[in-house]
Structure formats: C-alpha cells, structure tokens
C-alpha cells in the first residue's frame, strides 16, 4: 500500500519529465513512449533502492541511459520529426477556431525552437533540456549525466550559443 503510494507519487511527478526528455533526445514520440514505459517499470522494480529525495537524479539518469541505449541500438529516423510541418499545420487548424493568429504564431515559434533544441548534439542537448526546461541545478545534472559540474556549465553555454546560431540561420532562411 505504501509502496503504491510512493510509486504513484513518483509517476505523477516525473512521467512528463521523462517523456519530455526522451522526446528531445530521441526525436521520436513512439520511442519516447517506449522509454517512458521502461523507466516507469524500472522505478517500480527499484523502488526500494533509492530515496524519494534523490529520486529525481536517479530517474533522469535512468532515462538518459535508456535514451542513449535506444540511440545506439536503433537507427533513429531523423527525417521524421515530432514537430514536423504536418503537426504544425494540424495544430493551426485546430487552434484557429478558438484563438487569434498571434497565439498560433507563438506556438509555431515554440515548435521551431523545440525543433532546433532537438538538433543540438546529444551532450549539449541533455544539459540544456535539464537546465532550461526541467529547471534542474548544475549539481543534479552533474549527477544525472555523470559528468563534472564544470562540464555542465561549459555544455550549457555551448548549447545556448549553438541554439542562437541555429535560430538566426532559420530566421535568415525565412527572410530569404
């Protein structure tokens, strides 16, 4: 009964983080669902081995390692992106009914940023997603990814620069 409560709490707390991180790393929603499922099962199996306070780093570490395994094992289909043009157009069709155009524009911009974040190299992307999107601290990221804190800081800076460069390029392409 208590283990159920602990498990349910962890699932509610981290299910979207796990899924979100997996989507960014694997660039594929189906694979992200598989990884999320696997992580949730591993949480259940290892529920006694980790403290609830250190659960965050354990879960993100497990998610990260599983994503790396997926990337190694499978040939990830890079051409099919979860934020592809079809998805965006679908989104516009749905949202135009209720919302003004500028909101759709913002959403499209977000999709582009997400896409560009996904295109970052794996090591930069991991740090960027955990720090900027999940709000994790340097120390937590360092533990989750098994890298020194200084590397976390360096990767974060590089990721920010690269993302900015990519967005600037995209802007130039759109203008042209």
């Amino acid at each position: 009964m208590l283990t159920d409560t602990k498990y349910n709490f962890l699932v509610q707390q981290y299910k979207s983080r796990i899924y979100n991180y997996s989507v960014y790393l694997l660039k594929n929603k189906m694979d992200a669902e598989d990884v999320t499922q696997e992580v949730l099962i591993r949480i259940w199996k290892n529920l006694e081995s980790f403290n609830i306070l250190s659960a965050k780093t354990w879960i993100m570490k497990t998610t990260h390692n599983l994503c790396l395994d997926y990337l190694r094992k499978r040939k990830v289909e890079f051409s099919k992106n979860p934020y592809s043009i079809e998805d965006v157009s679908e989104f516009i069709e749905n949202k135009n009914e209720d919302n003004p155009a500028f909101k759709v524009e913002n959403e499209m911009r977000d999709k582009k940023i997400k896409m560009k974040i996904q295109e970052l190299p794996e090591n930069l992307k991991s740090v960027f997603v955990l720090y900027e999107l999940h709000g994790m601290k340097y120390k937590e990221i360092s533990k989750s990814l098994d890298i020194p804190i200084n590397s976390v800081k360096v990767y974060l800076l590089r990721a920010r620069k690269q993302l900015q460069e990519e967005l600037s390029k995209l802007k130039l392409q759109e203008v042209a």
Partner: protein, 184 residues
Amino acid sequence: MNEELLDRIIDVAYGNASLLDKIKIYLMSLKDSEIKITLNEYRKTFAATRNLELEECPDSVINKVSKLLSSERIDSHSMLSDVYTIIFRRPVISGAFAVVFVLAIVSTFIFKRPEIKQHYTKQEIEIADLQVKQSFALISNVLNKTKNTVEQEVLANRVSKPITKSLYLVNDYLKGENKNENIN
C-alpha cells in the same frame, strides 16, 4: 565581438550573471548597438525557451505500465512486506524500534511485582475447609454460651433481681407514707 564578451552577454541574457556584470553589459549595450542586438536576441530566445511547455506524457503509456504492473503488485506487495520494509530497510527506524524494544524489556524487569504462587492439593483444601468449619462451630458455641449466661445469669440474677428489689423497696416506702398520712 570576442568570445569572453559574448559569454558574458549570454550569462546576462539568461540571468546567470552577477549584478556587476549585468550593469557593465547594460552600459556597454547603450554605447554599442551590436552588443544591444546580441543581448536582445539571446533574451528573446531565453524567454521563448522558458515558455516552452513540457510534453505531456500520454495516458496510454501509464495505462500500459499499470496493466503490466498490476499482477506483480498483487503478488509481491502485501501490507506485511510494506511494514517489514519500513522497519528493517531504514537504519534509523530499525534503531528506534530496537531502543523501544530494549526499554520495554528493562521496564518489565524493573516494575515486575513478585507473584505469590499457591499450589495446594485437594486434600489440603478440604482439610482447610474442615478447619474453618470447626473454628466457626467453636465460635458459635462460645457465642451460644455467652447468650445463655447473659440471659439466665446476668439478666436474671444481676440485673432483674436488683431491679425487682429496688421496686419493692420503693413500693414499701410509698406504702409507709400513705399510712402516716392516714394517721395524721
């Protein structure tokens, strides 16, 4: 623009810079338009990044996991195993339980009252019963004798006789007075 300056601008845009750096970059951006543009670009990206919503995990994933785990949950996790886990897997809790257990044993020895255990045979109980009856019979005899003595001797001889005598005396005295009155 050199790398060091760009790093500082990024830190300021993402809110990781110190107050001094923020002021420096702000002042520099007032003079240099390139710095200002770069700073604004990074700020925009930062703001957009912070506004990104987390992808919601589909319910289908949770449902699948729940189905997979449901049988395992029933089999392997009972209330007893939960209690066992709580007590014995945590050193602090198991330590506390050990202390309470030792205290309970020690207090039992300290506050224990010596118990008088009586083991009598049936014969002994019957003899005791008989002796009690005999003692009651003796007491009854004594009380009966006392009653008789009081009724026959004390009340008749020591109380009743003096009272009768005194009544006669009073009577005689009163008769004698009547005679004197008649003579007068």
